[in-house]
């Protein structure tokens, strides 16, 4: 008779069945010893992720000579900064959510609205748009000699709260829009039909059908946008307008980079960590948000909108399209004003290449780390162990990039020359910042894979490499490409981490834009911004192609 058993090594490499850990210590060691080839990448990834956080924490706790400067508690300046950080984040979140609601409703319910899928794709780009691109656009539109500035009231100043709000709403309104549109679209057709059949009024329908769907996401979106704005760095640094409009994140940067005052930076970083961490823990209980999915085709029956509702929704949509496109479109005429012979082409190309290499490295590392951690996560049966692994993978959400950067910077400063090795920290920290997002996107797909195919895989007994190459890799490929594209764009636009570890002789594209804007070379800054935008667009095009 042909056949027989497979080799033990093959089966261990590909084993997709759930694992129950041995309870005694000898058994545990033996268990790890038998499986080290498959357990090693996950163990290294977890060690790296947790090690860096612990390192940052140890530094923040005042290890070495640097203590924490708690005298800042008596400084009115500190309270002003904290108050402004919260105030601008609150206003930005409320404005983003309130403006997104009517437009999202129009997008979901008005089947005659043109260009919806294009607009939602554009929203995705806006949400992950490198801040420096937007800031250049806003300066060209609303700056001192901006195109639209003559239409604004006297005394208008882009720098300060107004500029910060404009930029934050531009970056976060698209996110809120996508989440709300998908939420409205997910209302079952049966609910719409029943409300029509029962003859419900518009208000009754809103209260009974639409509000319950929205109630699930509005607080979470508001909280998430608040946290993003609270942790915002580039926008506040560029548009903050001095000590009256500074956030904790920028204050940490200034304390470290310009004043070189680690005790002050450490205290501010702790404050930032406690507030941001507390907020995250609070609203992470409100559930996940769907924002990466493409717009569903307008199929099925939708309620007839009143004439006023349709016109109002259409008008809100038009305003939103203008608001989200003008700061980018204005870059084209601004860039055309550049004196082409004075543009540092050589440097711009070098800087672009450097940015792309750093972003690709960070995105690859984020993917590898997430896959390694997931390889652990999917092998354990215990819910407690799985939760622990998830917490390890997601904990960087609670630690803002600036806090992590400051901690690592201060901790390794005595041993590492950051002028020389800064690039390594930039790649690593950008990967860690993207990791929670990558993990959260990959986890449901891996869960689905295991839920559907675990018995079949055990039955087929494929080896590790054939399993990856023939089945697992192709299954994960669309989501891997999607998260790679988003991680790439996020790392490409990084401003905060580079701000700590980079230097002027070794710039990335966002810092080049910042420097050009700072020296009033707006046309050249616009040109560099367009270049950065093109790179982001290429990556996201990859994403959308895979959605199609």
């Amino acid at each position: 008779m042909s056949g027989g058993t497979r080799s033990a090594n093959d089966s261990i490499m590909s084993r997709p069945v759930l694992i129950n850990l041995p309870t005694n210590r000898t058994g545990l060691w033996f268990w790890f010893w038998q499986r080290w080839p498959i357990m090693l990448p996950g163990a290294l990834a977890l060690l790296l992720m947790l090690g860096i956080s612990v390192m940052a924490f140890v530094a923040l706790a005042g290890w070495g000579d640097a203590g924490v400067d708690t005298t800042l508690l008596q400084e009115p300046w500190f309270w002003r900064v904290l108050q402004f950080s919260i105030w601008q984040a609150l206003l930005s979140a409320l404005l983003s959510v309130l403006l997104a609601l009517p437009v999202a409703r129009a997008l979901a319910l008005d089947q005659r609205l043109p260009g919806k899928s294009w607009f939602l794709r554009w929203c995705l780009l806006c949400f992950v748009m490198p801040s420096l691109v937007l800031i250049t656009g806003l300066v060209a539109l609303f700056g001192r000699s901006g195109l639209l500035t003559p239409l604004l009231p006297d005394g208008w100043n882009l720098y300060g709260l107004s500029g910060i709000l404009l930029a934050h709403v531009f970056l976060n309104l698209p996110f809120a829009l996508r989440v709300f549109t998908f939420q409205w679209q997910s209302i079952p057709q049966g609910a719409w039909k029943m409300s029509a059949q029962l003859g419900l009024s518009g208000w009754q329908r809103f209260r009974l059908v639409e509000l319950p769907a929205l109630r699930a996401v509005v607080p979470a979106v508001t909280g998430f946008v608040f946290l993003l704005c609270f942790n915002s760095f580039a926008v506040v640094l560029a548009l903050g307008g001095g000590p009256r409009a500074t956030t904790l994140e920028v204050a940490i940067f200034q304390a470290l980079k310009y004043d070189f005052n680690p005790p002050e930076a450490l205290f501010l970083a702790w404050t930032q960590l406690l507030v941001a961490g507390g907020l995250y823990l609070m609203f992470s209980r409100w559930g996940g948000l769907q924002w990466l999915t493409p717009l569903q085709p307008d199929s099925g029956w939708r309620p007839h909108l009143s004439r006023a509702g349709r016109i109002g929704g259409g008008f809100a949509y038009l305003l939103c399209v203008l608001f989200l496109s003008l700061p980018v479109l204005v870059l084209i005429p601004t860039a055309l004003q550049a004196n082409l012979s004075a543009v540092p082409w050589q440097e711009m190309l070098q800087v672009s290449l450097r940015s792309v290499i750093l972003a690709i490295s960070a995105a690859c590392l984020a993917l590898l780390l997430a896959l390694a951690v997931l390889s652990w996560w999917r092998r354990f049966a215990s819910p407690t162990l799985r939760r622990l692994i998830e917490t390890a993978a997601l904990h960087h959400l609670v630690i803002p990039g600036m806090v992590l950067s400051v901690g690592v910077y201060v901790m390794l400063m005595p041993w590492l020359n950051w002028q020389e090795w800064g690039w390594l920290a930039i790649i690593l920290l950008n990967a860690l910042v993207a990791l929670p997002f990558v993990f959260q996107q990959l986890k449901p797909r891996v869960f689905e894979y295991d839920a559907n195919y675990r018995p079949l895989l055990a039955d087929l007994g494929l080896g590790a490499w054939p399993h990856w190459k023939l089945v697992y890799g192709p299954f994960l490929k669309p989501v891997l490409q999607r998260v790679f594209a988003i991680s790439f764009v996020l790392a490409l636009g990084d401003f905060a981490i580079f701000g700590i570890f980079g230097n002027d002789e070794w710039r990335t594209l966002p810092w080049m834009i910042y420097t050009l804007s700072g020296s009033y070379r707006l046309a050249e800054a616009a040109l560099a911004s367009l270049l950065l935008l093109m790179l982001a667009l290429v990556a996201l095009r990859l994403l959308e192609r895979n959605h199609a």
Partner: protein, 203 residues
Amino acid sequence: MLEVRSLQLSRGALSWQYDFTLQPAQMLALMGPSGTGKSSLLECLGGFVPADAGQILLQGEPIQHLPAEQRPVSTLFQQHNLFEHISVAHNLRLGFNQGRPSHEQWSRVEAACEHLGIRELLDRLPSALSGGQRQRVALIRTVLREQPVILLDEPFSALDDDTRLLAGQWVRAEVSRTGKHLLFVTHMQADADSWADQVITIS
């Protein structure tokens, strides 16, 4: 020879005990109402459900301690037999030599596909197939895999009468040719009467 000795299984408050012997090239039908542990027995033989007690012997060697991946068993599950994101041909190849079937193995697969009327579907994704077509694809891979024990959980449930007859004859011929041991769950008395050498009815 496959021997199942005093094999005790339990699921919740229910428990069953099995004792039977199956000679090479023979087919055993498991019959009985839903919820009487037929699929649980197949899952236990495949290594997916632990037994409370008893032995499973193949050629005199106990196999009940082997994990699912190492059992000399090929299983057709009630569902999720095909990876939805890869083609039918790709799914079929996965059953042989880590996804790289020999020329001879692939010729057998192609002949079986021709015989069961799915030859022209090899390039399609499983989602483009009907329930009956999917079942035939999975059946071909399960039966042709080089494992001495074959477990089929309702293998003909999605097939029309003509295809059912064709598939049953093909399975019977393959088992006779290769000398494998085959157990299948069915609700149709006609299947058991036509193809089984032994029938276990669980009440």
